[in-house]
Amino acid sequence: MGIQAWTYTLVFLSFALYIGIAIRSRAKSTSDFYVAGNDVSPLANGMATAADWMSAASFISMAGLISFMGRDGSVYLLGWTGGYVLLALLLAPYLRKFGKFTVPDFVGERYYSQAARLVAVVCAIFISFTYVAGQMRGVGVVFSRFLEVDITVGVIIGMAIVFFYAVIGGMKGITYTQVAQYCVLIFAYMVPAIFISILLTGNVIPQFGFGSSLADGSGTYLLDKLDQLNRDLGFHAYTSGTKGTLDVFCITAALMVGTAGLPHVIIRFFTVRKVRDARLSAGYALLFIAILYTTAPAVAAFARTNFINTIHNTPYSEAPQWFKNWQKTGLLDWEDKNSDGVMQYFGDTGEQSASQQNEITVDRDIIVLANPEIAKLPNWVIALVAAGGLAAALSTAAGLLLVISTSISHDLLKKVLMPKITERQELLYARLAAGAAVIIAGYFGINPPGFVAQVVAFAFGLAASSFFPIIILGIFYKRMNKEGAIAGMVTGILFTASYIIYFKFINPTANNSENWLFGISPEGIGSLGMLINVTVALLVSKVTPAPPEEIQKMIEDIRIPGSASETV
């Protein structure tokens, strides 16, 4: 079978599986719809969290980014896994014990304030929409490249699938489809990685192949070879960094704290039965994520080596088929500047002579998608990558849409605007909100605002500077009151948002390390925003009245797993 026939088959089978699961797990109550009836096992929740978290960015873009950034790319690996330690140790068990439905729920009740709840609702919706637009776009790109349909059609198909299981099943449907999607995406990621590791280094395990010597009999280590290739062509050595240490530190911190503050991840820990299950499922989640995240840097190094070896100094007439396939998409291109008919690939740190002109432009996103083709793997493996990319994008999109829908039906309508509605009505509004959110997300997927990529920094920065500190303080500092919390959230967000807006939108030409505050890039500013949030919250709470007695009781209660009365 050809690549396309394989892709259609695998994508169709995986979609049929998701729909089958959705029909079996329909939501019957708001508790089913919001938190899957608190009845998910730790192992299933671990897988669902992993799929929920690993988006099109993790699956498609991350290895490509690392491939071009070398050691500087570690910020993503560290940031997007280290946050789970914070989540497991500081948030998940306590929020499970609190036992409500949403993140704004916690903020609103802990700080006994509708205003705090509303600020949280706005943040949750903004963070989730920016994120979901990127997922829909990812779905469209995979469809257009592998199935050769229009991006618009691709996005609409993706919307239809998500609409089906998010609207019918709510959290319950999403959870079990995410379990299936995790299996699909991890299989799709590992198979090509293992193949390439064997081809390049003779080692079956990519994590070990990464540190092995090359299989070409030279006895040179892969990473040494790669450093050499990079330097020869005028790039910085692969295993060295170019970013400032403080900036790397801040970006990593913002990504870690942002991860722990993302509402669609936090909400997953509301779905298990007990506090101890919440702790354990955080462990499983990171284990399942780590399988992909420790493979990604290996894939990045393999792909970089293969890419340079196959492209550099190859006559265009002998260029492999995949090169021409990707040229059609405009994501990869060659311009014969010295008219010798041979492709040259150079970086800009070497001395620029007439003989050292770079002729290749390449989009980082194609690295994972084209990798199996570059390594000449069988057609079914190439098709598998398409199914995996779709699984990653759809699972994350569904989790985000649920946050949007619950924020509206539960926090905005039931808790603030229309407290008298019945549970049945609330469930109906939840479904309507989910449906509307799918359509809006699809619209952004088809007509992406030109700044989707920039806006992702926003989502993490905002999560880091708003939710994370306020939830932590709410659990670990009993004296924190509503005045402190609101002042902290508002200043944290305002600072972070204005810094990012200034450098990304108002004055993008000034976006370089000379103008940055302490040399911190907009990607890393969320960590400073978090510190500001904490400082302001602590100062304001010192000079305003302590929270009421019953709130302090509630905090004591969420700090222990069982109920205090039973444990005399």
Partner: protein, 89 residues
Amino acid sequence: MDTSRLKAYWRMNLTYVGILLIIWFTVSYGFSILFVNQLDQVRFAGFKLGFWFAQQGSIYVFVLLIFVYVFLMNRLDRKFGVAEKQGDR
């Protein structure tokens, strides 16, 4: 449960979390970012040590830390009798 035992439970919890987070900080921010160039002088297999921590080692340690936390907290819950009962929601 009387407040002194509750306080003791919470203090132990904070101690565990504190120690685990120090390890978390050391491998990620310490080994992988602040002292990465110094550690890179050490090599094992084809890796420079700092680079390995930044792209592999830290992640393994993170996973381990959560499972150690789960083990410690379950033991602590039993010791203080605050674990959830069967069927307790």
